[in-house]
Symmetry: C2
Subunit: 213 residues, 2 copies
């Protein structure tokens, strides 16, 4: 049985959780409360020396880390419902869109960065939220420019890893109160994605640890 | 002929340039001076709406962007000297190591982030350098923990995309004056990598635009 090490708020974990649901792969989730620093405990650092979720255990000799690396592994290992296009240019495109949100935006807003802004620059909650909102908005500008008019998916007609990353981006967009009105194509793709049961079921707000759950 | 859109200081471009050299793929380089904001010009945004280098033109209908997406495309298109292992777990491992530096560290230190630290938090050059050094060091801690004793490569005996990312990380480490003394395994792998002619020739300091070039 695969074990997904997670935290309910984690956007990177959300991407992997959607893929597991879409592919119908059985897994158990083990939650680590990042808000209590559980990612800094020695047991957790053994699992992932970078002290970050997600980590996926049980399918390989060593735990897998980094959402994109895990997703590529899942797609190679469970090829039903492929999440990468069959052509090389298409694969490059969806990987690029994925990284636009997962690498260019999300690493800028995680708790360790927020904490560093506080200690180095005296940031507070309001400044931290403004910082995060700024980067989510920047990501949207570049994403919107790459979507086709009338699109319901990030690339072509099929779901891809780019859609998983976009869904996680849009959760951040909502969390930090960024208005989607200037980004109608992205909003339309997002609406279509969140209507898919597996995207909805994997949503952070329905995970153990979320308010009311 | 492939065209690599670049900036001499760019760590992400360095990774792609190494791969082109290693695989012996003919390419021309076109430099954009990011310090003069040339990535914000409309012509450049047409090439990459995210306004970032590298972009690789000429091999596909649309330009490719994001270093990891470009590297995966190069490895699929020019399979001589593969830069990903032949087993799924190995591929996941080198992608994870790649992302540890390219996604968890580098997006935190790029010019647009430095600029935002100035406008939002009144950062100056000293604070900006301390910020960057902090994140390079954090990346080293997690990288060092994942290297085998006596290793000369990031994973196993063969060069991989992880080594390309590590080389770029070590250029940042040197630029921001981070001491490698606590990271002997990483230092040893780095020494072995920089001795490879293709890594040396692709180094930022030898590119057009670098001081004295």
């Amino acid at each position: 049985m695969l074990i997904l090490h997670s935290f309910w708020l984690s956007l990177a974990t959300y991407r992997v959780r959607i893929a597991l649901h879409l592919k119908g792969v059985a897994f158990e989730e083990r939650a680590h409360d990042l808000s209590k620093g559980e990612h800094d405990l020695p047991e957790f650092r053994k699992l992932n020396p970078a002290g970050a979720v997600p980590a996926l255990e049980g399918g390989t000799r060593q735990p897998l880390t980094q959402s994109l690396a895990i997703l590529e592994w899942l797609d190679e290992t469970y090829p039903t419902l492929p999440l990468l296009p069959s052509d090389a240019e298409g694969r490059a495109k969806v990987r690029s869109l994925f990284l636009l949100t997962a690498a260019d935006t999300h690493p800028l807003v995680v708790p360790r960065v927020q904490a560093r802004l506080v200690t180095q620059f005296g940031s507070d909650e309001t400044a931290g939220r403004a910082w995060s909102a700024h980067w989510f908005r920047e990501g949207l500008v570049a994403y919107e420019a790459q979507l086709a008019p009338g699109a319901t998916r990030s690339h072509g007609d099929a779901l891809s890893i780019a859609d998983l990353a976009l869904a996680s981006h849009l959760v951040g967009v909502a969390r930090f109160g960024v208005d989607l009105v200037e980004f109608p194509r992205t909003a339309a793709v997002g609406e279509s994605l969140f209507a898919i049961p597996e995207f909805a079921a994997a949503h952070p707000r329905f995970q153990l640890g979320a308010p009311g759950i």
